[in-house]
């Protein structure tokens, strides 16, 4: 119990952020028409590519002689970039089809 309370107290900022974000995430897309389900999924897919920031930090902190960390970090930077760039470009291409033409 003591540990649990301590955890809550130490991380209260984070916990607030998590709870608010959960509600916000649900609220924000609550009324999406089914036509947009796929582009929205794709856009959300690109946004979770934010994990790339973790990859950059891992890569940038690794010591020059730690080859395992360098290689894994490098791989994760490549994969994360694929997720971000590919995700946004593919979403844009999908949405391009929606633009109204007169």
């Amino acid at each position: 119990m003591q540990n649990f309370l301590q955890f809550i107290t130490e991380n209260q900022q984070m916990i607030y952020v998590v709870i608010l974000m959960i509600f916000l995430g649900i609220e924000v897309i609550g009324r999406v028409p089914s036509v947009l389900h796929t582009p929205l999924m794709s856009g959300a897919n690109a946004i979770h590519g934010v994990v790339i920031i973790g990859a950059i930090i891992v890569m940038g902190k690794s010591n020059d002689d730690n080859y395992l960390a360098l290689i894994l970090g490098f791989l994760s930077v490549v994969l994360g970039t694929l997720n971000v760039v590919g995700g946004f470009v593919v979403t844009d291409r999908m949405l391009e089809m929606f633009k109204k033409k007169k």
Partner: protein, 476 residues
Amino acid sequence: MQLDILTVCYLIGSVTFILGLKMLSNPATARKGNLIAAGGMGIAIFGTIFLYQTDNGKGLHNYVWIFSGLIIGSIIGTLAAKKVKMTSMPEMVSLFNGMGGACAALISAVEFDHVYREFRLDTNSFADSVPFVHYFTISAGAIIGGISFAGSIIAWGKLNGRIKDFSFNGQHILNLLVLGFVLSIAGFTYWSHASITNIWFLITLLSAFVYGVLFVLPIGGADMPVVISLLNSFTGIAAAFGGFLYNNKVMLTGGILVGAAGTLLTMLMCKAMNRSLMNVLIGSFGTKNAKATVGKQQGGNYKEITINDTATCMAYANKVMIVPGYGLAVAQAQHVCHELEKILDEKGVQVSYAIHPVAGRMPGHMNVLLAEADVSYDKLLEMEQANDEFKTTDVVLILGANDVVNPAAKSDAASPIYGMPILEVELAKSVIVNKRSMKPGYAGIENDLFFQPKTSMLFGDAKKVLQQLVSEIKNL
């Protein structure tokens, strides 16, 4: 001082993600929303590269590695996203999602390696020196990222037909056992002898991959968009664990936002098919029930119709409704379909399209496809609208759609698609079905509609058939 600018970068990033998602859920602003989120992501990424400082105040190094990684990833990502055909977009999304999951898992692996190097010789077990929250964050990121990666790859393989549905009795029990194994090994690692934790961690990660594969394998191909959306929210949660690990607010907000929105989106997708998420995950679409239905209806007779007759039929109708499906997408026949619509329009025939929310391989697939061919928005009717119109329609032309017009969804309680709302095409005066063969659709079940007296079959590739049809109607 530098650190403060980075905080502002992250704040901008978080806000653009929220704004982007909000705008993405409205057709008028969707494209701008995507660009705004992309811009915020760029700011967050470059802010991290140049401004991030570790706890002891040092900046990042290994810039050569970072930038070559970014450049390689950007080039491959852009090329892949630009080259992919409209029909294959869902599998592309799945693949990118898998990359994100793998990225999260690798980050956890490197962080685990840091902890391992630091403590392997000095302590008996991690429990003695590593805070549980820290270890939990690392292994949760690894497990969820791993599941998302392996699952997405399987979903990708299923959508492009490389991997077939595969299920057997007791599969769900096996899956639960594997999941239990993953979790208990992950827990066990924390208390096991520190010097061998690396092996246990590797086993955890590998068994998470195995679970990801087993999780997606039994789910039917038609349900893949739902599964991809679910795995999408998994990756979001894995990214959020990364945010916990580095106390990084933009990763945390972005990850949780996608985790929550993705979960809701998954449920909305299920709702569009009138099914529950449980049903999708456990239902194993189109296995035993389907076979029973197939057996029952194999004796039916169907009649074929020629291009000539179809042309006459349509040219002299007052009102024609076109029901597009996956077959139209595969044949890339959207342009010639628009041509047919124009030519009929010139002849004074009223033409509109009936769009089922889950026609094709992803929700909105048909809207995107027809929009590409410049079909005007007001010609696309949603399901409820279309169902009101069928009563007064002379000819319904079904182009490669099957399950979304299967009356079994209304009448046959044993059918695996029972309860899914369908386009009630049988209300129209006559129905012409264009398919390549009598093979059942994606759900693997027979369609009673094809055997009804008012239905005629027009076999052939949608594009070729439509081209012939257009030239026939011109000659009339």
